[in-house]
Symmetry: C2
Subunit: 257 residues, 2 copies
DNA sequence: CGAGTACTTGACCCAGATCAAGCCATGTGG
DNA sequence: CCACATGGCTTGATCTGGGTCAAGTACTCG
């Protein structure tokens, strides 16, 4: 483990003082920016107070004017198709962006609703576009984030068995928990089974049965929304056919070819 | 129908002269750019000679340095998972971009192979990034294209019956043919059944049977790779649950809400 | 403590997969 | 010009992963 990075701690404290309501440091957007550029970014965003579970951040068809960075809590995005069926497109944890799919049409293409109490930063898109012209690192990061989202949703669209999909999903959550500094093998699911099922194109009952089977096989210990990963290698063996984070982690490293 | 735009025709001719090998005008990227900016874009791209069917444009793991705009012909992108199964991620016709998913990791995340004889423009990514800082319209267009790709692949990842998926796929192809100035109801499929099946998470046999049923029901006339759409409204009724182009065409218009 | 919601478990069913021929273009060599 | 191979496509028979339907059970929150 590397030694604690005190310079980092100090600047976080500093930023907390200049912008109490919204430290961007943990978010995906400013990755690779220096403090100066960070400040410019902070100047254009504004924090949006607590969103209660079930409360919507935006709805499909709303005119698009901002991206949202999740600070705390969790959201899901979904659409309702013309038969009235709900499709869960994704889940958004702390540090992740919501709303990228609205850029193209100028209208939000999905609904975003809080699963738990959540706080977000609104990033006005026109100002982000403008700023990203001045700050090359920001432009590059936006493109990376969007590219990653493309990989990830293309992966989700591929054909895999139910257990591969659930295993891949748990691994993805685990990695995202770790990125936020939480214990990677102790997940508290922010969403009900029904939403997991919809996201993975399964029936709620199938998700329930798979959790039971994974537990039986000693892969995980499940109790309601708490999932402990017991046998990571076995879970990875199942789930590595997918790469739900779009980051290539599950593949043999390309540069070693 | 609007009167023909002669100024446009003239400038296409002009550009053909200055850059015989690769007119970007029909490609998706320069939409909304003026002639001056277009020229700057043309200056950084370079044409890449004919790619024969089965020949690869790039492979998974190759280091990423350019996007590719398809000029003529058609490509497919696919991955091979760790079980050796092929997954077709998408098809790319004239005027469409390939390779956006490689930006994030600096390596191509999929394989791209020609389905027919194809010609492409290579757009060196670092120069595109640089140019898009100078030309705001270009930056905006890149973001729109990527956003649209996110919507589209999220849609493909949703759960729909086999006939909804195939209908949605045919409609998507039809629209893309029309955008290229071809007859929208007369499609020549550039890919074999196997690839359509893989892309839509179906078995080849199911695709074949669905074509037979669609024909029986008078929706289409199919003969080998030639598909004529006979009953567009009926096909749309089936396929509009999906929105494989990510452009919201199939939804009740958001601004009328 | 009662009502509602999330979750689980069992029995049965079906859309679409798999297996197995056969068909039909196109190409190739004799 | 014709065997006959080859690969894409179709069609039929059968099978099965996961869906649906139907009870329960267990938290959670007034």
């Amino acid at each position: 483990m590397p030694p604690p990075d005190h310079s980092n701690v100090v600047s976080i404290t500093h930023l907390r003082q200049t912008c109490r309501s919204c430290s961007l440091r943990e978010l995906c957007l400013p990755l690779g920016l220096d403090n100066d550029d960070m400040q410019k970014l902070e100047d254009i965003v504004h924090s949006r107070g607590p969103i209660r579970p079930g409360e919507h951040l935006f709805r499909e068809g709303d005119s698009f004017h901002a991206l949202y960075a999740v600070k705390t809590g969790a959201l899901k995005t979904y659409t309702i198709d013309n038969q009235g069926r709900e499709h869960v497109l994704g889940f958004h944890l702390g540090g992740e962006l919501v709303g990228l799919d609205g850029i193209h049409s100028g209208h939000n293409r999905c609904n975003a609703v809080a699963l738990q109490n959540a706080t977000v930063c609104a990033v006005p898109f026109s100002r982000l576009e403008q700023l990203s012209r001045e700050v090359p690192g920001l432009q590059a990061q936006i493109l990376r984030v969007m590219s990653r989202e493309i990989s990830a949703s293309a992966q989700l669209a591929t054909e895999h068995s139910a257990d591969e999909r659930l295993a891949g999903f748990l691994l993805s959550l685990s990695r995202r928990f770790r990125r936020r500094g939480l214990v990677a093998n102790l997940i508290t699911l922010p969403m009900p089974r029904r939403d997991i099922a919809s996201h993975l194109r399964l029936a709620t009952e199938t998700v329930s049965r798979l959790f039971a089977r994974f537990q039986e096989e000693g892969l995980v210990a499940v109790r309601r929304r708490d999932v402990e990963i017991l046998d990571l290698p076995a879970l990875e063996k199942l789930g590595e056919a997918l790469d739900l984070d779009g980051d290539g982690r599950s593949r043999r490293s390309p540069q070693t070819r």
